[in-house]
Every structure is written in structure tokens, then in C-alpha cells.
Symmetry: C2
Subunit: 364 residues, 2 copies
């Protein structure tokens, strides 16, 4: 069994869980290496304490499951099968008395839960999500290689965006050009809806890109990322289009100082809250404490938002191999919105930024 | 109360449902006019038999809820509130003895369900989804106006794609150009991942666009749609790049005949299965019965896949105001993949296609 599955099995032993039945495509991918979008059809993976796991998936995907390297049993179902009955049988072959089952309670819907509890009416259902979040938080060498490449593509996207800035173009023109170049490199999915926001639009907390034209003296905010082989990158840069005024410069400088200062203390053992508080103090000292309304950052990997959460109150200690964003921002309505975001890896003695586009204010 | 809410209330009376608590953004939008992506925060709408409904949403969205035209109560919650307690209080003010609650069992997750059942431990929970699917199936005048416009943009996207076809370009080049032009018109979201598949790639049931170059003699399949003001369009056209061979032509002609023939019988009272069977017979008669592996079509509106489902076995009768796709296809591995898809409105005496890009084989 893979190391990831073994770690889950260890947790199951500690908590007397007989079966862990995973149904989100993200966690099935993480544990099995098989990525599949089964939509309304059942995709699941069952893990046991000391017995071989199995996958269940629609028949048309069974070949891909094997191709992806899964060496244990694949139970396949057709549209006329009852996949829950097949699941019950495959579990029954492995464990005769199922008392405790763990599932993803944030992912499984009520309809499926009712079907599942109907099969095991006496079982207790626990959530496996907390443990899975913990496992996914620390990345291995292969995951880091993919994340590095995804971050390089995010850097490239900012380069394209910077080159596209010119008088009269709209936010959507620039956004379209950025995504066009990524698609030409074969990127078919962004981590989230790309943001290109100019001037006052960047200062609204819920800005969406539109047909506003960029003007001389605007700060233009780019926030984007790509999905590469199942892993997400996420970068924000704010560029100046023409000369900006003193207050815009002051805001930019405060955000950059906050970003660099919190980044500088990243190493194993430091807590998430220390990072957030460091950036928050720097911004408050510059007089903009009321204009930094969000957490400092979030973990990323298979999901663009995962653990650890870099908030003011999270006591979690950093560990080598964690990857998260550091993205302080200041948003002053009718003046400017500035955010600077890197994807950061915790190394044995410090950190490495995986996104590398320059952060000194670039005037175009 | 709006007509949509009244219809839901009538169903609640017939089924003795005291409270219907809706939490999917699609159905909240459909019933209230308020579109909001609350992510992990609670967005909900409670409907009663004869009492005013209420919305519950994060505080930062409450202003938008009112702006969207919602004239009933808005209960707002902050990140330190327990939104489930607030929901319980707001329900308690309206109904003292809650025995039956309907929810969206395909949408609500187990974690939320446990929080909700904890508040009303004696209540029975039914699914409201079937009724909501039925309501959404028949479109009103305002919905049709939006769908028409979304379909015009889908037609435009095919025009762009056709103009982009030239030797040496890849599927992703063409896809990128199509989405670029849509973004420049302000379209920020596609109904689903755009497909541009050329030659043999179009003949695979699960093709994904990539870096394959188009070649003379290829059939190029486009499948795409846009989201406009919350409503989805969906079109497929297959174009010839250069002269094609006799078998490709034969396949194209069979698909087109099947599409036109099933379309021609659309009117109120005809069943979904009659449509599917009509297309299926035509394709079987051409000798390709084994190469049409999917249903004829699906309803569309706020979701790109909704009711009615146009399958071989669905006895549902068409009604004026229904909108769905008709999209027969033939996929012969290593030879060709052809699909032709329109979005179709059922009118009082027949039908109207909302997508209007020509269907006669276009050779570029």
C-alpha cells in the first residue's frame, strides 16, 4: 500500500474505524493517483485497517483507473447496477462486522448518505476530512515538482499580462490575452476565475473583471493561477500603468513590506498566526490596519484553498513541505487596491517562494 | 409572493411540508432573484405554506440581496454567529410546530444536514428537488429573453471558431481564440469546458482539447456555451477543414438527418422518448446504431444540464416553454466524430431553435 494509504490506515486503527469510504475526486486522486470526474455516478475508494483497499467507479473509467497505476481491486458498475450494493458486497468480503465508517461529511450529500446508512444501519459515521486535510498539507517530492511547474506558468501569465497593458484596453481584453497564451501552452483549466482589476475596481472587496478600460495612473491587480496535472498555483501582482501618486505608492510599499516581513520568518516551528500577525502589524503601522480585511494566506495543492489556513488565530506550527500563499492586501475605496501574493514552500531551515515574478513596483 | 414561490407553497400544502429550506445557489437564485456564491458560509431561503419567506446570508451580501429585488426579510449572519441558530429562530417565529421539512438532498452535505437535524430532531426530512426541477423546466418570458441572448453568443462563438481554422493551428489555439473574443464581449464564464476536437480526437467519447494540429480532411467538432446573467447556452457544430471523404460525409449526413427529423416533431404533447427514438432510428437506418452512445439531449437554463432529460425511455410530455438540447452524434473510432446540437424552445404549436448557426456541412 502507498505511504498515503498507510498513514490513513494508522489513523483508522487509532480511532477504531473499520472502513474509510472516500468519494471526493480530490481525495480519491490524492490516495489512489486516479483522477476522475464521475459527476452523478458513484466514484469511491474504500480503505481498511490491514486489508487491501478497493476502488469503485463507472465501467467506462475502469481502464483509466488501472492505467493510472492503481494495483488493487477495481469494482466497476454499469448504469443498471446498484453501485451501493456492489460497495456493500466488496466491503463485506473484507470486514464482516462493520461498526464504524468514516466518510467526507463536507463532501457527501444527504441522498448518498441515506443510501449508505441504509446499507449499514447499525454503523456509526465519523468524518475523515480532518485527517485527510492534515495528510494533504505536507507535500512530497513529486507534488512539489508539479507545484513548481504550475507556479512557473503563473509567473509567465503575469509576464503576458504586463506586456498586454496599454491605453484603451479593458480588463477583459487583458484577461483574455493572458488566458489565450496559457491555453496555447495546453493549460485547459485555471485554478479559479482570473482577476484583472484596474484602478478603483481593485479596491472593491468583491471586484469582478469587466469592460472598464485601464487608464494612466492606475494600479492594475492580477490574481490568477493554473491547474497542472491536478495541482493549483495562485499568484497576485499589482502593476502600475504610468506614474502613480504618492498615496498609491505608500500603499504599495506597505503591502510589499508586510509581504516580505512575514515571508522572512517562515521556517518549521513558526505558527500560522505569527505569520498573519507580522503582516498585519506592518500594515497597521503604515496606518492601513482597517483596510486589510482577509487572512494572510491559505494552503494550496490539489485544491486552491486547503490547509494550513494562515489566520490571525491559527496556532498550527509550520512543517517542512507545507505549501501556502502569503498575500497581504490593502484596499482603500476610491483610491487603490494592492495585493502581492506568492506561493511559499517551507524548507528544512526556512522557505522558498515557488512564484518568482519580481515584486518591486513595476511601472509600465 | 412571486409566482415561483407560490407554486412551491402549493406543493408544500399538498405534501404537508411546513418549511422548505433551500440552500443551492441555483435554486435560491431561481426563487428569489438573488445570485450569490457564499462558498462555505450559509446561504439559505426558507419558504412556508402561507407565511412570508426569508433569506439568510452572510452580512457582507445582505445589501446585494436587497438590491436584487428581494422584498421579504433578510437574516444576515457574521462569521461569529451560528447561522443555524439564526435559521431556527427565524423559522420558529413563523411556525411553532415543525414536523416536516423539505431540503435539497442532492445538494446539502452531511455536515450541514447533521447541524440542521440537530435543530429539529423530531422533524421528517423530504427532498424538494423533484418539485424544483419541475418548476425550472418551464421557462417564463424573462428567462427566454436571457436564453435567446446566450444562444446568440454561442452562435457567435462558432463563427469565430470557423474563421480561426487554418493549417498548423492546434485545438487549443482555436479554443483560446474563441474564448478570447467572448471575453472581450464581457463573457466571464462558459457553461462548461469548451471543446474543440479535430479528426480522430472527436471520435473518442471522452476527448479533451490539446495540442493536436488540425489537418486538411479533418472534421472539427466545437461544443461550447456561455453563461449570461445566470443562464446557460450550449451548441455543437462540426465543420469540415478541407475536402472530406465519403464515409465522413455519410456520417455527417446521417447525424444531420437525425437532428432535423427529431426537431421536426417537437411540439406540446410529444414525449421525450419519441424525440430520442426518432433520432436513434434514423442513425440506426444509416448503419451507425452502435455509434450513438448518449441520450439525445437535456434541458438547460440556470444549469447547463437540467430537466427534461431527452432519453429513449422518458415518457414525459413536452410543454410550451420547455428548453432543451437536441444533439445526436456518431462516433466511429479512427474515422470521425460528428455531433450537431441546437437549443430548442417548445412553442404553442411547435418549436423554435434558439441557436441558429447553419447546419449544412460547411467546408473551410
Amino acid at each position: 500500500m502507498s505511504d498515503r494509504i498507510s498513514q490513513l490506515s494508522d489513523w483508522m486503527k487509532e480511532n477504531n474505524v473499520d472502513v474509510c469510504f472516500i468519494t471526493s475526486k480530490e481525495n480519491v486522486f490524492y490516495l489512489s493517483g486516479f483522477y476522475s470526474e464521475a459527476h452523478e455516478r458513484l466514484l469511491g475508494m474504500a480503505v481498511f485497517q490491514d486489508i487491501e483497499p478497493f476502488l469503485i467507479c463507472p465501467g467506462m473509467d475502469a481502464g483509466n483507473a488501472r492505467k493510472s497505476g492503481w494495483s488493487h481491486e477495481v469494482v466497476s458498475h454499469s448504469d443498471t447496477d446498484n453501485p451501493w450494493e456492489l460497495t456493500k458486497q466488496a466491503i463485506g468480503k473484507r470486514v464482516s462486522n462493520v461498526r464504524t465508517i468514516s466518510i467526507e461529511k463536507e463532501h457527501m450529500n444527504v441522498e448518498r448518505f441515506e443510501a449508505f446508512t441504509h446499507l449499514f444501519p447499525k454503523a456509526v459515521f465519523l468524518s475523515a476530512e480532518e485527517k485527510l486535510h492534515q495528510l494533504r498539507m505536507v507535500k512530497d517530492v513529486k507534488e512539489l515538482a508539479t507545484l513548481r511547474e504550475a507556479c512557473q506558468l503563473a509567473d509567465y501569465a503575469i509576464e503576458v499580462g504586463a506586456a498586454e497593458l496599454s491605453e484603451g484596453k479593458t480588463e477583459m481584453d487583458i484577461l483574455a490575452a493572458v488566458e489565450y497564451e496559457l491555453k496555447r501552452k495546453g493549460i485547459s483549466e485555471m485554478s479559479f476565475s482570473t482577476m484583472v482589476l484596474t484602478g478603483k475596481n481593485a479596491a472593491a472587496p468583491h471586484g469582478t473583471p469587466g469592460l472598464t478600460k485601464i487608464s494612466r495612473g492606475d494600479l492594475v491587480l492580477f490574481d490568477l493561477g493554473v491547474v497542472l496535472d491536478g495541482y493549483c498555483s495562485d499568484i497576485t501582482r499589482t502593476l502600475a500603468f504610468g506614474e502613480i501618486n504618492q498615496q498609491q505608492q505608500e500603499i504599495y510599499d506597505a503591502v510589499l513590506r508586510a509581504q516580505l516581513k512575514s515571508l522572512s520568518i517562515v521556517r518549521p516551528g513558526v505558527t500560522c498566526m505569527e505569520l498573519d500577525q507580522t503582516a498585519r502589524k506592518e500594515i497597521a503601522a503604515a496606518g492601513y490596519g482597517d483596510h486589510f480585511p482577509h487572512r494572510l494566506g491559505h494552503g494550496l495543492g490539489i485544491s486552491v484553498h486547503e490547509y494550513p489556513s494562515i489566520t490571525e488565530t491559527n496556532p498550527l506550527e509550520l512543517k517542512e513541505g507545507m505549501v501556502f500563499t502569503i498575500e497581504p492586501g490593502i484596499y482603500v475605496p476610491d483610491v487603490a487596491g494592492v495585493r502581492i501574493e506568492d506561493d511559499v514552500l517551507v524548507t528544512a531551515n526556512g522557505f522558498e517562494t515557488l512564484t518568482k515574478y519580481p515584486k518591486e513596483l513595476k511601472i509600465i
